[in-house]
Amino acid sequence: MPDKRDDEKGIVNAWPTKEFFISMLTKDIELTRSIVDLVDNALDGARRLRKNHDYDGLFVKIEANPHHFKITDNCGGIDIDLARDYAFRFGRTSQMKPTAHSVGQFGVGMKRSLFKIGKKFSIRSDAPTSWFLLNVDVDRWKKDDERWEFEFDDYAEDLPEDDDRSLGTTLSVTSLHASVSEAFGDENFQNKLAKEIREAHTQSIEGGLKVSLGGVPLEARPLLLLESKDLKPGFHEMSWGKGKSEVIVKLYAGVGDSKPGEAGWNIFCNGRLVLGSDRTSVTGWSEGSGRLVPQFHPQYNRFRGFAFLDSEDTTALPWNTTKTGVDTDSPHYKSVRIEMIKLMRPVIDFLNRLATERKTEDEDDRVLEATIQKAKVADVESVSVAKAFKAPLIVPTKPPSPEMVRISYLRLHKQVLKAKKKLGVSTSREVGEKTFDYFYKTECEE
């Protein structure tokens, strides 16, 4: 290393290396999640385009095969100024104009995903008055830790709005990492990816957005609750903050079909599922050492909870950077969680009673079971609700189960044989039982 100039000797180098950024960023996200993140970006475009959240006519097409990855949308494109100053920065600067109700919050999503998938990527985006093409060879870019900029390969700006380009973004990645290439060729991975995209974006798909994977359209996973005159999900609404930072929370807790995979709480932030079918203490399970809310158990397979948190200002929402969970330390989330616990408690009681009923009542007398059978499924958006979960308050008779204790001991074989004969029984167990009963009758009964 060359000798330092005198005026540099007091300086400590704290510059980040690109290698560090790339490895840190890509480590804490799963491959499937990084692709869901790219759908988030497209969706933010859709949100800019359609303030009413009606996405009819918009699409996101994803192709993921062992050779290349491609995601194409017609959701408005990335404006060249946005691309130049913000979209590729690591982290979002405070000067950036936020997209109302966006799902991309932290300014890491797109880069992280691209780095995660492969070593060469290309972006072509057509916005109303500009377009650009950007090709990046990550290995080459990585070599120079001083220069962090990318360079457009081609671009045009200040274009008339009415030229007939179709607006949107195409993002493709080649030179896939070996493990990614392998995963993309694996059918189970494709299934998992389809499931995660479907779940994460079910609200947008319901809003008309056409999302496809490998040419196969992905359908929304409907969010269903059982409802009838006697059975109504509990509902609670709360909010905090003012103006753009106001967060509106809607909570639903009730019962659905008995599906092990779907039981639990689902938390959506701005329409994006961040926590699905959760049965951990994050959503209140096992609260109060399991006395306030029990630990999850298959008995609660019918439990369904939905939490929708919405805000114009994405940063006001309590979710984590990978959008795979909530920020459990957030005071706001703690407060929401309290309300979730209050809403789920009566549902748990109902499911406990339902389980007891199944054990103790004849099929014809199972009133709670009948209530469930009579109920109809309804989408969470249109379901009729009550302040607290409503269900028949019938308490089934408890099964008669006095506490039993096992006694075991050893006695001489000869003596036991003699006792067997005297008692007229054939097993040692019966000898134990009869002799105990004999003692109890004479000495203990009042």
């Binding site: 006395r291 407060s335 308490v395």
Partner: protein, 319 residues
């Protein structure tokens, strides 16, 4: 499981009777927040309903809910209700509490027979997360030291009952003898209230945040050592009204809720009826005068003076 009502007549436990009257006197101070009749009383009436009878007679409260876990003997409880306005709710308090409407300002006295455990803490938590301001609560638990032997020390027994995360850091075996179990139990319950309120307040505007003001830290022993902890849940903007209630002027109220705060001990002096009448004639005492009664120990005189307004009068009655 049989309740303690089968072995003891609640009405004959003098310290408990005194506590009941003290609590009731404190409840009365809530008039600053509106008519007492608008409050609801929730408790464990058992078969005697002593607290219910007192609260109804003294405060005029009509919305009353008694939680009873002894489901098998429903008819007996129904039969013993002293007033028609007492609504019975059968089941364990862990399940019943969540079925109540918590938008009603509530006065609650949860008088458990048991030692503090996870189930009781769950009730403390549920009430704290649900009660609408202003509400007033007292929780009574058995705080007798756990049976001790060298192979069966007390700390693991406490940990087993309340759960590992709940025992205050630094609690040692020696802290659990005598009234130590009561002090530690109070801390655990207070921590539960504070933690729950922190979470509850997370999304509330400052003026509407819920605060806890400890009012009760009683200890007494009619037999086993008992502990009562409780206080007021109110919104920050109601602080003026809370001040007007002037709870501090009640000698038995303990608003200091720090870890090492002092309890109010209800110690019942042993006096004859004649002595009681004699002492009552000298009370309330004029400053610097001394209570006198032949050969009654000074300590008992002091105890009586502290309790005389709430002192129970037992006697045989020919009906």
């Amino acid at each position: 499981m049989a309740g303690s009502y089968e072995s003891i007549n609640y009405a004959l436990r003098p310290a408990k009777a005194i506590e009941r009257k003290m609590l009731c006197e404190c409840f009365r101070r809530l008039t600053e927040f509106g008519a007492l009749e608008s409050f609801r009383y929730v408790g464990f009436g058992s078969t005697y309903f002593s607290d219910f009878a007192l609260v109804h007679r003294a405060l005029g409260i009509q919305q009353m809910v008694s939680i009873e876990k002894d489901i098998e003997n429903r008819q007996r409880f129904q039969f013993n209700r002293p007033y028609r306005c007492i609504e019975m709710k059968y089941g364990h308090s862990n399940t019943v509490l969540s079925t109540l409407n918590w938008n009603i300002p509530t006065i609650g006295w949860f008088d458990y027979d048991d030692r503090l455990d996870a189930g009781i803490l769950a009730d403390v938590q549920y009430v704290t997360m649900s009660a609408s301001p202003v509400s007033l609560f007292a929780f009574t638990v058995n705080a007798h030291p756990y049976d001790y032997s060298e192979t069966n020390p007390r700390l693991p027994q406490l940990t087993e009952l309340v759960g590992e995360g709940k025992v205050p850091n630094g609690t040692a075996e020696k802290d659990l003898s005598g009234w130590g179990t009561a002090a530690v139990s109070r801390r655990i319950m207070t921590n539960e209230i504070r933690e729950t309120l922190n979470a509850r307040n997370g999304a509330l505007p400052t003026a509407n945040q819920i605060l806890y003001k400890q009012l009760f830290y009683f200890r007494y022993a009619d037999g086993a050592k008992m502990l009562t902890v409780g206080g007021l849940l109110y919104e920050r903007r109601q602080a003026n009204l809370v001040a007007k209630c002037d709870f501090e002027s009640l000698s038995f109220v303990q608003t200091n809720s720090r870890a090492n705060c002092a309890p109010y001990s209800i110690e019942v002096p042993s006096l004859t009826y004649r002595e009681i009448r004699h002492l009552d004639g000298q009370l309330p005492r004029i400053r610097r005068s001394r209570l006198r009664s032949p050969r009654v120990p000074r300590k008992d005189l002091q105890r009586y003076e502290a309790l005389y307004r709430h002192f129970p009068h037992f006697g045989e009655l020919v009906i």
